[in-house]
């Protein structure tokens, strides 16, 4: 029988819940032997929107995109370090564009079995229901999805994980 989970992709955006998702995904990859892909999307769609709305100037657009690229590298490196500490190799996937579309594209590109994300923000306005990028990705992705909760428990599990998953 084919292993139920061969490729896990975890989405990270730098938020604390997304890092908790990463820690869980590392544990899961270690126990299951699945490949781990880490996905970060530079939200250039939002920057373009701000330029169109004339909130951003052209030079601000360039500056913010540059900063966001640097954020992406920093977080991808951080996740790489977290995984390396536990002996888990990671495949990096950095995308640019619309966050929910790029997550779905990455899932298809890497033939992912399981998408892991951190806890979603609590819905506090009707607008959130329409515009939460991660929630839109969860609805559109063709693979199964795992939403990671309970930061303390996950941290403990990650910390107790040995170098070789013991």
């Amino acid at each position: 029988m084919r292993k139920p989970i061969q490729r896990i992709m975890v989405y990270v955006d730098g938020s604390e819940p997304s890092i908790t998702g990463v820690q869980y995904a590392i544990c899961l990859a270690s126990f299951s032997g699945a490949e781990l892909i880490v996905c970060y999307i530079v939200n250039t769609t939002a920057v373009d929107e701000l330029l169109r709305a004339r909130i951003f100037l052209q030079d601000e657009q360039v500056e913010y995109e540059h900063d966001m690229e640097a954020d992406a590298e920093r977080y991808l490196n951080y996740v790489g370090d977290l995984a390396a500490r536990k002996g888990v190799p990671v495949i990096r996937n950095k995308g640019r564009g619309s966050v929910h579309r790029e997550i779905v594209e990455a899932v298809k590109k890497h033939d992912v079995d399981l998408l892991v994300v951190g806890e979603l923000s609590r819905i506090r306005s009707r607008r959130d229901e329409c515009y939460d990028e991660v929630e839109r990705a969860l609805r559109a992705t063709p693979c199964s999805v795992l939403i990671v909760k309970d930061e303390d428990r996950v941290y403990e599990m990650y910390e107790s994980l040995g170098q070789h998953g013991c």
């Binding site: 939200n43 909130i55 506090r124």
Partner: protein, 149 residues
């Protein structure tokens, strides 16, 4: 973090007391200082003023979105001010600004900053919603309106 997560009564002022653009910027940054959200008032004000010198962040239909980046904040900060009488803000359409969203972010957290600004841009597209905000009688009504949107 969603924009709505930043919306609490302490960072809202209705009505603003200022009558000109420099005063509004000082008052909005002052809201953050008084709410205990920033320590270095001058650095934050300077970041916002520097952006404003390049071009006014006054948009159309009475909305203004002053913003800036500075290492003086460790996380994204929002202040909302409403001036029903309108204030000359050198806006794109020449109309007085009545609804102000001030956003200040840290240089190493551009993602959340951009997302929050995009959320504000979407809110600003709804004229009915902006009219309702401008007509809000107190900060609690502003919070309720933001949550209902």
């Amino acid at each position: 973090m969603a924009l709505i997560d930043l919306v609490v009564p302490e960072i809202i002022k209705v009505p603003l007391g200022s009558t000109d653009k420099p005063g509004v910027l000082r008052e909005l940054v002052g809201i953050l200082r008084d709410a205990g959200r920033i320590q270095d008032y001058d650095a934050v004000l300077q970041a916002v003023q520097e952006r404003e010198y390049k071009q006014s962040t006054g948009l159309e239909e009475g909305i203004a979105v002053p913003h800036g980046k500075t290492a003086a904040v460790s996380s994204l900060q929002l202040a909302i001010g409403i001036a029903p009488q309108g204030i000359d803000f050198n806006s794109l359409d020449g109309k007085p600004a009545k609804l102000f969203f001030l956003l200040v972010g840290s240089p190493d957290q551009s993602g959340p900053h951009v997302q929050a600004l995009a959320d504000v841009a979407r809110l600003a597209r709804s004229k009915a919603f902006c009219r309702a905000l401008i007509g809000a009688e107190d900060v609690h009504e502003v919070v309720e309106l933001m949550r209902d949107e």
